[in-house]
């Protein structure tokens, strides 16, 4: 009897090890461990055994049963795992195929530049002021110390609609309008972006319509050193910490003193190249201390108040920053051009 049990165990374990799938394994389970299985059969003969041997034999039978059950369980685990592996292998995809495109557009490069500048100055306490693109001669010229007959306001340079109404030639009228609204009380701290228009034939460096962004600060005790410090922050933010700046005296009717700001040329590192015309410097913007006539005309006491203003062209900045070689690209809206500005460094 004992031998028969051992035989059964060996036989079952043998079969388990060669079972090919779960079904065969289940058949083995049923045939060996089921109620009608051979072990049960063997145990039926237990009655013939002595009282001493009966428990021993019972224990052996259980041992055999457990060993077969354990064998089946282990084998089942293996087979299940193999089945999963097979399924996964069949589900393999080519991950190098392209993904389903997500539709995206992006900012126009000029908006990108303008918003970058707006945000920088908002962070320094400025608000964004806007004004009409069709302006009165008064705000575009007279209020900015450009009286009638001044050579800098030649009819040839502006698009007039009537004698008194024209397309603004700069965003400075927004400054005049904002100061007027403040009724002689500071502080004024604004940044004014917008479209402006001049009578130019469109070519690689000229456009009859272009953008400008100007800043204005008026308060008691605004100093030229404040202008310099402000512009330095701007230049480093826009063009990188390693750029040097210099202020050069210049002339604008609405500021006195007037300056132009240059930044050191990135291309040649200041040694001189064709981009900077050999000077090592690139002109970025015009600025200055607000002319007392401009303050007075807008209702500010020029004895008490001083201010600074600066203005620049987003096209020029974009051209320098991104190496764009033709101003017309900004207005043609070729998608091959626009798309390039979806990348954010």
């Amino acid at each position: 009897m004992q031998e028969r049990l051992k035989e059964l165990q060996t036989e079952a374990l043998e079969k388990i090890s060669t079972a090919a799938d779960l079904k065969e394994l289940n058949d083995i389970r049923v045939s060996y461990l089921g109620k009608k299985g051979p072990i049960t059969e063997v145990l039926k003969g237990m009655g013939k055994l002595s009282a001493e041997e009966r428990p021993k034999m019972g224990a052996l039978a259980n041992e055999v049963r457990d060993s077969i059950a354990a064998g089946i369980e282990e084998k089942q685990k293996h087979l299940e795992e193999a089945a999963v592996q097979e399924k996964l292998a069949a589900e393999k995809i080519d991950v190098t195929l392209p993904g389903r495109p997500v539709k995206t557009g992006n900012h126009h490069p000029l908006t990108r530049i303008i918003e970058e500048i707006e945000d920088l100055f908002i962070g320094m306490g400025y608000t964004v002021a806007e004004g009409p693109e069709v302006e009165k001669d008064y705000y575009n010229f007279e209020a900015l110390n450009l009286p009638k007959g001044h050579p800098a306001r030649d009819m040839q340079d502006s698009f007039y609609i009537t004698e008194d109404i024209l397309l603004r030639t700069h965003t400075s009228p927004v400054q005049a309008r904002t100061m007027e609204k403040h009724e002689g009380k500071g502080p004024v701290k604004i940044i004014c972006p917008g479209k402006v228009y001049r009578r130019d034939n469109d070519d690689a460096t000229h456009s009859h319509q272009f953008m400008q962004i100007e800043g204005l600060v008026v308060d008691e005790n605004i100093r030229m050193t404040d202008l310099k410090g402000t512009l330095e922050i701007f230049a480093k933010k826009m063009f990188g910490d390693d750029r040097e700046i210099r202020l050069r005296p210049s002339f604008f009717p609405f500021t006195e003193p007037s300056v132009e700001m240059d930044i050191s040329c990135k291309i040649c590192g200041g040694k001189g190249c064709s981009v900077c015309k050999g000077t090592g410097w690139i002109e970025i913007l015009g600025a200055g201390m607000v002319h007392p006539n401009v303050l007075e005309m807008a209702g500010f006491d020029s004895k008490k108040y001083t201010g600074f203003a600066f203005g620049m062209g987003p096209e020029r900045i974009a051209m320098l920053k991104y190496g764009v070689d033709d101003i017309r690209h900004f207005y043609t809206n070729d998608v091959r051009f626009l798309k390039q500005f979806s990348v954010h460094e």
């Binding site: 195929l97 495109p101 539709k103 995206t104 557009g105 992006n106 900012h107 126009h108 000029l110 908006t111 707006e118 908002i122 962070g123 320094m124 306490g125 400025y126 608000t127 964004v128 693109e133 069709v134 007959g149 050579p151 009819m155 698009f159 007039y160 609609i161 397309l167 502080p187 701290k189 479209k195 228009y197 009859h208 600060v217 308060d219 008691e220 005790n221 100093r223 030229m224 050193t225 404040d226 310099k228 410090g229 330095e232 922050i233 050069r248 005296p249 210049s250 002339f251 006195e256 003193p257 007037s258 132009e260 015309k277 007392p292 001083t306 207005y331 809206n333 070729d334 091959r336 626009l338």
Partner: protein, 804 residues
Amino acid sequence: MFVSYKWLQEYVDLSGVTPAELAEKITKSGIEVEGVEVLNEGIKGVVVGHVLEREQHPNADKLNKCLVDTGAGKPVQIICGAPNVDKGQKVAVATVGAVLPGNFKIKRAKLRGEESNGMICSLQELGIESKLIAKEYAEGIYVFPNDTEVGQDALEQLNRDDQILELGLTPNRSDCLSMLGVAYEVAAILGRDVKLPEPHAETSSEKASDYIEIQVEAKEDNPLYVAKVVKNVKIGPSPVWMQARLMAAGIRPHNNVVDITNYILLEYGQPLHAFDYDRLGSKQILVRRANDGEVIVTLDDAKRELTSDHLLITNGTEPIALAGVMGGANSEVQSDTKNVIIESAYFKGATVRKASKDHGLRSEASARFEKGVDPNRVRAAAERAVQLLAQYAGGEVLEGSVEADALQVEPAVVSVTLEKINRVLGTELSMKEVEDIFARLQFATNTDNDTITVTVPTRRGDITIEEDLIEEVGRLFGYDNLASTLPVGSSAPGHLSQYQNKRRLVRRYLEGAGLYQAVTYSLTNEAKATQYALEERKPVQLAMPMSEDRSLLRLSIVPQLLEVLKYNSARQNDSLAVYETGAVFLSNGEEDLPEEREHLAGAVTGLWHSHPWQGEKKPIDFFVVKGILEGLFEQLGLSDKIEFRQAQKDGMHPGRTAEVLLSGEPVGFVGQIHPTVEKELDLKETYAFELSLKAILEEEVSPLQYEAIPRFPSITRDIALVADQGTAAGELKGIIKEAGGKLLKDVHVFDLYEGERMEPGKKSLAFSLKYFDPERTLTDEDVTKAHDKVLEAVKEKAGAVLRG
């Protein structure tokens, strides 16, 4: 203004300062030096040669065979093609081994069988622009005066061993349109002295006033007129150095008399004019305004009709010059001229500007008058001119000058306090430092406690107020030396306005939805200005447009965006989505500014979605674009106030266009571009929208308020309704919403069927209705009650019944 470094040295000691260093110093303290030109750059080995023999080349009609002494050993044979080469001339010879501009190396050569050992040069070949070369040498080689020494460096003889600083003058610095002005500026920058010329000429016993009488009628236009008379001049070339200086400054040499007047123009900034005394036709000069219709023939032989705006120099009756602009042909200095009158005058800028503009004559002279000459240099310039005429034209200077003087010259006197200077610049300068700066500028000053009073020389007419003085101090102190600070004092936080914030949101949303932002022109042509306008208004028109295509301001952005699609489509990008935000302009009549309204427009064409390897391809349709707008209104909290209504619009597809209403007011449209327009533009199916961004962003929106997350379940009922083909889904939805009452939380269309299984003229629309009560769990009875009302309403109001 072109400034010769060598010439400048005559007035200011430039030792220890190279031209490049000088350029940088000038730029930093006030005037931008736009370039420094080295005149003899890339040239070597050119010497003065003597043409000993010249004969016709045996094998070529147009070539000459010359024997030339170059001062280095045996004379050499040179073949020369210039028509004016001749025996005895002193010429510029590029010897074998020489280099000319453009890295052109001179080698020994054979020309038509004859050996040539070098090249006789024209001035063009030495790097001088043709338009600057005196007429006699323009077509051939240059010939030196006979006394020029053979073997010398020819470029040195031509004063080309020099560097030219090109000054970019701002309108306020016309004082530097003269060498003396530049000298004062450079002296101030370097802290050195200015050496002024001291004109002096021997005069004859005859008096100028016996020869000419001056009378000025138009004293306002011409407050000072000075005339000097020089007799027996010998017309000929001016000295080489003078010609060289003129050419380097961009002026073409003519003859000694004309060259001297131009030389003074450069040196003093005072334009002069020389009249041929014997051709004057009288002994009188009368300055007056022209009569309307009066005619003058100017030096360039052009007949010019005048008006009373123009100032004339006349001989008492006939015009002899257009004042400050150009002389008359009748009194021009010619090769046989003997006696000359030199005019040095102060003409009013505006008068000269008017004449030069009206006649399209801008010259070195008119440019200087327009900006205002120094009234205190008028007489000195005349003195200097006659000195040079005596020296270089052999003239006999008559005693004295004849003048008409009504000029009141008062130098500007301006005061400023040290406190103000330091307050504006942000500096801590002492009075001593400020005084030093004005001393360098040679401005007389007077200090009284904290106040410095400056008497500004008349040459610096740009300085009139204290801020001008502050600028002088600032720029000579050096902006490099300023500290960097930030404004102090009350400061409020910076921010965007609500409108500006929302505009950014709109842009970001549309970009996220797949549209590229475009920026187009506001100016357009008549057809495009009004096409697709939201409101019928007159467009704003330019008074003097540059072209038909840019003559009016747009009333709509869509036409510009269609242009963008067309442009891209023609370049293999026929699937594209763009949008723009920008102003359109609605006329308010001649007197007032137009109304500027910010619009939002978009245009989409071609495929909306394409994912080829998985077989997905979806062209744009109306509902793609509508969906984008719905999403936008959702973000702006306007969904409940927006309505799309079937509409007709010129240029749009008659069946696929909707008007967009906000709180019942039209604010724009969306739809398909009319197929004929698509065809004209060569576009695939294209959809567009234009909305008044202003109306949308200014619409009041209730503040954001949290709504409790539902605690009770909702009940959904689906219904399929059979309705007339013409019944709009939006209409049915409206009826359902109204009838469903408080419990009906949401309604949406989930199916549309228009196929054969329907009765003709009918369609089936399926809606999903969601009922919900925040207070309790709804019973079937509750819902049925509400639902029955819905069914009743759609039947009654739209004749729609449940599909059987």
